[in-house]
Symmetry: C2
């Protein structure tokens, strides 16, 4: 009789956003006359920029003619896109990353979930707390996290690095030595960032202890302050210790279009084995390349028109972030994030838990946000609002919150 | 110090198609005046059908307007596509599969590689020999296959089911009981099929011994004979033992567009646990849904115009298959496949190995095919040609082979 992967059964409850969706549906069913504003999930609302629409149409036309039809894409991505990424996201920032160190994929969620596969099950992971749940959950599925304590909401074999108001939401070097360190800056959910000097400390630490840093830079486009690094490869020594995950979802609105990439420098090795080779083998064996039309759309992101149109889109969302942040401050909340990230992180009032505040906000302002506790135990007592709504909805939501 | 997944290092040599590409490049560099015809890799050459191009353009237009923009897709697929699949591929064939038992993805290669994740590492797999290499390779990566014997080219913990001329390329029930059985019909690479009655024997066997069948039906659209099943769910009892993998790559030319789906009936359980729930959890945690525009293109496949245009495309390739099969027979080869599949499987002449015939064919006819031994030890002495080239190239290739 076949057996299942028992690790899956260890995962507690349902996924955060499914629970939110259920609660919102129930509220809406009970209050059909109320208009609910969703500032919860990190999904974009602005349409794709004109230059991207043009690129998609152009690529679709190519697929309709025998002379320009494209079958299987190269597993690791088309040269035109890898070259554009290497130039714009790395060379232009003075970072030494070659086009063939870039692996194009259908998004950073897949990559951040799959990347752990190339590592030993015996490796110990360290994660920021709170953080994007995919890092821990995918390691649970692989059997890397030990047992779950439902009281502390922590796994026995995971090193948690609390990010709270006390340390300005920046993790401290862990006391126990990890093998794999997940860092996400600008952070989801806190919106916090660290400076280049602070990130250099992590790179030096990883090189010293022989850890690999999995650096999720999905929100990089929202960085507005000059001393915040846009990529971990701005730090010296990152080529021997870091993998970087990037997405087109938030800088170009590709959440429903699907495109991302992962960078693995060839200098990153375990003994003689390049992690680059392992990931290439994974891509070649389990993946069939990102669609041609999406890769052409990705290329358009780096065109002069693309850069201009997308800068406006980012500015639009960051203006929402400002509306949320200032509105909450006016209403007396303690707030962080929203300067280098589309996420605003607020302290719940008094002793309210994250889920109590979720219910309170939904019932009284008809606004949906995300409970901080959903991102890890240190997120308890916090709450995330996102700047990805429309301007009109964002303003309306804040008016309601201020009246609450 | 971090450690890697050592299972990756067990994988022998490079991937079949990379080796072929290397040999062809070398030949072309040494003989720049020769025109090489590629009938090797199973990639399509006909452009996307007009109805699909229209659907893609329409969906792209939607993505460019705020009112019709689509962000994150439902993890498991849009309702419109799941409903179209359930109706056309199952209900219309009298099979009982609900829309919510269908998981839309970016292709069958990913699904066939990832599906093993939801099973225990202790499960024993059985595979047809020869077969699509992804089944074994992804189980090697997961540590499920024991040790590799480079002489026999077999893994110690894999049950091989030889498919040769002696059994008409149809596997026999294995002597040792497997937990997971990979079946692929119409078969890649042999092009062989089994009848509904033969498949029913497998379903009954799996239900009896408590095995799960992973049924890859990627080439289903090429079936022309009436007694060959189009889905394993035509068999009684399949709902308690089978998972089916389907692709839009070969019936609709989506190799570079990327869309597929996996069916897991809710009756398929290990104890109380539905495999459906485990796969849903995997999709929700590690995947972000197939792109909206591709799902609209998939929907168009099931429209009346789509069916008509794609039937013509399949007929075009099957005419190529006929040209190849009859041409080879005229030239005195022993040939099978090509009736219910776009693959033609030939016995190499005399005592030539598969790779020797590859070199011989490349040197003398400048035609590229795929060595049968690349698909498993029982593929030695066989060779695969595909019908996915253009008609003109296929005719020219056969003229050259006949003169050889």
């Amino acid at each position: 009789m076949f057996k299942i992967n028992e690790n899956y059964l260890k995962l507690p409850g349902s996924y955060l956003f499914s629970t939110i969706a259920k609660k919102v549906n129930e509220f809406q069913a009970a209050n059909p006359e109320k208009s609910v504003i969703r500032l919860g999930i990190g999904d974009v609302t602005q349409p794709l920029a004109p230059v991207i629409i043009d690129a998609l149409h152009g690529a679709v036309d190519e697929m309709g003619k025998a002379e320009t039809f494209h079958g299987y894409a190269p597993d690791l991505g088309y040269e035109f896109l890898r070259t554009a990424i290497a130039k714009n996201d790395y060379a232009d920032r003075g970072c030494d990353i070659a086009a063939d160190e870039i692996f194009v994929s259908d998004g950073a969620k897949c990559d951040s979930g799959n990347i752990q596969e190339i590592f030993s099950v015996d490796n110990k992971i360290a994660v920021c707390d709170p953080v994007y749940p995919v890092y821990v959950d995918t390691n649970v599925m692989a059997g890397r996290t030990g047992t779950y304590d439902s009281k502390t909401e922590m796994w026995s074999d995971v090193i948690y690095m609390p990010c709270t108001a006390e340390n300005n939401f920046a993790p401290e070097l862990p006391k126990e030595t990890p093998d794999m360190i997940y860092l996400c800056f600008p952070n989801n959910p806190t919106g916090a960032t660290i400076t280049k000097d602070q990130l250099q400390v992590w790179v030096d630490y990883a090189n010293k202890v022989g850890a690999v840093i999995i650096y999720d830079a999905a929100y990089e486009a929202y960085i507005s302050e000059p001393d915040v690094p846009h990529t971990i490869f701005e730090c010296e020594g990152a080529r021997t210790c870091a993998i970087e995950l990037k997405s087109f979802s938030k800088n170009a609105g590709f959440t429903g279009t699907r495109l991302g990439y992962t960078v693995i420098p060839k200098d990153l090795k375990c003994g003689d084995v390049m992690l680059h080779s392992l990931w290439a083998r994974r891509h070649g064996t389990k993946y069939n390349g990102a669609p041609y039309i999406q890769q052409r759309a990705g290329e358009a992101v780096y065109s002069p028109e693309g850069k201009e149109q997308l800068a406006k889109q980012v500015a639009y969302y960051m203006n929402n972030a400002k509306v949320i942040k200032e509105g909450l401050q006016e209403a007396g909340y303690t707030v962080s994030g929203g300067v280098n990230a589309p996420y605003i992180w607020l302290k719940t009032p008094g002793t309210m838990t994250s889920w109590e505040f979720f219910d309170y906000l939904l019932a009284n302002a008809n606004v949906v946000g995300t409970p901080g506790s959903g991102f890890g135990p240190s997120g308890e007592g916090y709450f995330r609002l996102t700047a990805f709504g429309t301007y009109e909805n964002t303003v309306a939501a804040l008016e309601r919150i201020k009246k609450m």
